[in-house]
């Protein structure tokens, strides 16, 4: 399911040629594929607990031993706290399984949906609002 390393390299080079990125953005949804979901097994390298967005960085190693650096976008800490996350729920070295919407560009980035922790516990942001309240189950927390 993983996107090939070459594809993301092609994209990043194209990106550099085509644009001078301006810093910082909202509108995450436009960069991801809402109709697709992928699942990856990896190892946490960094857990970013910050306002107004949290992030998860993790490494995925393929059969040949190639490592690709992945990242996932998550919502605000309040939403995540309500959903069972905390600032120390993840730490570097943790083995995890992450599910999310892949980027349109092929870059190794996900719009987060769910993580399975090394102890088998599953945490999802689906069904939570940014104010920490529970919403309907089909509401994708962000």
């Amino acid at each position: 399911m993983r996107l090939p390393l070459a594809a993301s390299l092609v994209f990043t080079v194209a990106c550099l040629i085509a644009s001078v990125p301006v810093a910082a953005h909202h509108g995450t949804g436009v960069a991801y594929q809402p109709d697709k979901m992928i699942t990856l097994k990896g190892t946490v390298t960094e857990w970013i607990w910050s306002n107004p967005h949290c992030g998860l960085l993790f490494d995925v190693t393929d059969d040949q031993g190639n490592v690709e650096h992945w990242g996932a976008e998550l919502g605000n800490p309040h939403l995540l706290s309500a959903a069972g996350f905390s600032k120390d729920v993840l730490k570097p070295g943790d083995k995890i399984t992450v599910t999310g919407h892949p980027s349109k560009s092929g870059a190794p980035r996900l719009e987060f949906n769910q993580v399975m922790l090394s102890d088998g516990r599953k945490l999802t942001t689906k069904g939570f609002k940014g104010n920490g309240e529970q919403a309907d189950t089909d509401y994708e927390g962000r």
Partner: protein
């Protein structure tokens, strides 16, 4: 006769007690806050109902979230009907402002957005919020679908506390008029008064660097807002808003009635920290361009 009266009193007390149990949330919040106070850590009295008072707007207010609910992101929102699942949710709605002046059109075109039909990749937008710049008003209000606001009433003002960016908007109720020629302010200057059961807020003096909404609709420093709030019951707040800005729009922008519902969780600190946001962008959102440099 006395026994009969006593019986009636007992029944009334029992009814009131059961009504209290059935409506544990009355004025917005029991004070719990994910990441801080859990519901069981708070005194039970906090969730007891208070008598309804149409002239008390206090409480935490949020947009309702339910399946199929169309979130409000501007004075009005237009659903873009598409069955194409590849069109992400952020691009499936737009606002319908009144016709713009030439000045307004030029400002609108200069605003690069990541929502609605004009959405570009986040890397390419120039949305002030992307830099944690002030959202301004009324844009901060639309955040209520994710981040609520609260009203706090004092004898001489009503404070509107916005969760996102942790902003306090002051609405003066001490009978002062609006300032005649104020310096621009991100959240403007507001005065309010009661018209029957409706709290009317008039405001001016807005800094024209903010956007009205995430669709990039602009405003000038001549923008004037009239907001009419009505607490129709303990859990529902209605808002009618009219935006007048002759420099930007050829006629007033009259909003569709906006509904807010009382939220159970307390407002929490959600400051948009520029350094944290830059770190997030640097490590997550800007990565495609950065990775090739490694």
């Amino acid at each position: 006769m006395r026994n009969r009266l006593l019986n009636v009193a007992v029944v009334l007390i029992a009814l009131l007690a059961s009504a209290g149990a059935a409506f544990p949330q009355t004025y917005g919040t029991s004070g719990y806050a994910p990441g801080a106070w859990k519901p069981e850590e708070l005194p039970k009295e906090l969730s007891r109902p208070k008598p309804f008072n149409a002239h008390d707007l206090s409480g935490v207010w949020s947009s309702p979230t339910r399946a199929g609910y169309f979130e409000r992101h501007s004075l009005n929102d237009k659903w873009i009907d598409t069955k194409d699942r590849k069109v992400p949710p952020q691009m499936r709605s737009d606002a319908s402002p009144p016709p713009m002046t030439d000045w307004g059109k030029a400002k609108f075109e200069a605003n690069k957005v990541s929502y609605g039909p004009r959405a570009v990749e986040p890397e390419l937008n120039n949305d002030p919020v992307s830099q944690c710049e002030p959202l301004g008003y009324p844009r901060d209000l639309w955040e209520a679908n994710l981040r609520p606001f609260e009203f706090i009433q004092t004898p001489d003002r009503i404070l509107q506390h916005m969760q996102y960016h942790d902003v306090w908007r002051t609405i003066w109720t001490d009978a002062r008029a609006l300032p005649k020629d104020p310096d621009p302010a991100w959240y403007g200057y507001a005065v309010g008064h009661w018209d029957g059961d409706t709290f009317v807020v008039e405001s001016i003096g807005y800094d024209d660097r903010t956007w009205i909404d995430h669709f990039g609709n602009p405003h000038s420093d001549q923008m004037r807002l009239v907001e009419r709030y009505q607490r129709v019951d303990k859990d529902t707040l209605k808002l009618d808003m009219t935006l007048t800005d002759p420099k930007t729009y050829t006629k007033p922008w009259v909003a569709e009635t906006i509904t807010f519902v009382s939220a159970k969780a307390a407002i929490f600190e959600e400051i948009c920290s520029p350094s944290e946001e830059h770190r997030f962008n640097d490590k997550i959102r800007d990565t495609p361009a950065k990775e090739s440099k490694r």
